[in-house]
Symmetry: C2
Subunit: 353 residues, 2 copies
Amino acid sequence: MKQANSMHVTLQDVARQAGVSAKTVSRVVNNQGEISEDTRVRVQAVIEQLGYRPNYLARSLVSQRSHSLGVVTAGLEHHGPSHTLAGIEQESYKLGYSLLFSLLPEPDVPNIAPVLDNFVARRVDGIIWAVAEIQNNRAWIRPEVLVNLPPIVFLSMAPRAGLSIVAVDNRDGGMQAAQHLIDIGRKKVGMISGPLGWWEARERLAGGRQALEAAGVECSPSLVSEGDWSAASGARCMRQLLERRPDIDAIFAGNDQMALGALGVAHQLGRRIPEDIAVIGFDNIPESDSFWPPLSTIHHQLFEAGCISVNVLQKMIELRLHGRDHAPVLPTILTTSLIVRASTVSVSQLERN
Amino acid sequence: MKQANSMHVTLQDVARQAGVSAKTVSRVVNNQGEISEDTRVRVQAVIEQLGYRPNYLARSLVSQRSHSLGVVTAGLEHHGPSHTLAGIEQESYKLGYSLLFSLLPEPDVPNIAPVLDNFVARRVDGIIWAVAEIQNNRAWIRPEVLVNLPPIVFLSMAPRAGLSIVAVDNRDGGMQAAQHLIDIGRKKVGMISGPLGWWEARERLAGGRQALEAAGVECSPSLVSEGDWSAASGARCMRQLLERRPDIDAIFAGNDQMALGALGVAHQLGRRIPEDIAVIGFDNIPESDSFWPPLSTIHHQLFEAGCISVNVLQKMIELRLHGRDHAPVLPTILTTSLIVRASTVSVSQLERN
DNA sequence: TATACTTGCGTCAGCGCTGTCGTTATCGCT
DNA sequence: AGCGATAACGACAGCGCTGACGCAAGTATA
């Protein structure tokens, strides 16, 4: 007989049926206040009988907290964003937050105002900005904009004063990769970088350069080619590099997909991996272990970055609630680790066989 | 001077400042009713000056529509789910819906009640169930449960009466793959299937079997091995198959990752692709074009499946609003297409070279 | 027995917004 | 001048819930 107008059972419905006030039902639902075991049981029974589900929207309206977080990301088809998102989701769930999800069609959408407006309109408690920093797609980040927004955590961007940032140490990862190639005795290291509009691509490349220069190994522009993260671009770059510099004996690719493309070209041109050319990638995607040959790479903790960002955000939300807002925010930088597989083997080890 | 208690500018604030009633501001915001150009401009100015943003929660509370959809998925790290999600997001945005996102840690979570409860509590207008059908993880789908939920669309599951379903024709895709291997003259086709708990894996395998049997090509259990979708499992299965049946001249892998693993083992064992063994995968992940050799595969429209599911859901929501609820729901089945690359070449073509 | 305190609940207002139904002021028309 | 029609707004209630407060009955203390 109900159902008709509101479609949902309300607190009032339960209260009427149980012969108590709405407030008492509210207390039972929220486990608060002093309630006799008697009424608690009775109300609980009615709740189940009627199939009552609280309306979080109404609750949020009065409590001024939605217990939801806005997440903005782009390029879910890539390894990084999807793993980070998984980490964000898991941690949010643990902390009792729901996720409002917004996916940008590309990372450098010019006008992000609608996305932010939507989050504000839905009164999210905080925002996680998990879009890679490319070109000047972070130009909108200005104090006068941020002040009208809930707390925000930024993922994978260059540290900046006053912002909460969680990022992977791409530069150090790049150094590790190049250093490994040096360690196994390679002298002519070609580098296939990601698109240089991306901060992460620049960092990885810079790290590689730094290691090469420190070791006194050649590091000229003719040894660098810019891809777009895709395997196809990796193949293109590889061909270009080998044409320019046939003496190349190692490749550092900005990600595993491009490394895959490079491997394919090497096979096609009859270059043996790792005897003629050693190859190392970046990201440690699951498939890289099954490339031919299995790919050495740099592992970084994207899932963990997602988890951490949620925790940082949670703390910021608490702080704002308690008034203390301008607490110092330290960027969190996650370290990378080297994974050595068959695609890189030291020269001396090769000679031994 | 405001800000202190409510943190947000409200309709009332704007109304006071503009010297009109709250209702008038509401009319301006929603572009409804008769308003003189004069007041409209004046109110608009105050809105901008104060930085007013409507509170969708309050609006939803009275309008009984949240303009949000709940999406449940699992295994975002895989190609399928992430692409489908991208399609869902794009189409939802177009139709003015926001996405509430829930990620299951694994596809066969025993208790999905919390997820559904959360969606109901947040009053989503509809739900998209984008979790693969595996084992009996759809046992919860019973009429008495569904009746208490908003409209739901199910992705990639076996058609079932009374449910709205959007799925890819995995069986036909499997047939296309096997038929292609037959067409290029292969006689001993090994099959590396996905985990057989998955409906999609069973369908692909069944399609392959069907094509082989129809062509009178051998199709015995010794030619089938069960993987877990991962490249590593593909390698394991490949080794096992070649050990059991050294006469294999073709492989149909349940997805591209497992095909990648198979390729690696073939290289390792010195079998030439495609001369000795032709390999075809399933999914058409971007990298498959850069495998060595480039992988033939079955393409299916996952992104489109996401888009379609949102549109179907939208229609269901409209129907329920207008009372007519029990309209017939037809399953949407998307067709697949064959992509031929270097990993499968006809015997005759090989002989010509 | 009077006082203070606790337990167990109800009353009421209000979160921010919109739908319904007024109420004026103005206009055109006879 | 008198009438109805329209335009342009405001008053009010209520969506479902919770926080602040109140109040009666029971319990402990002096």
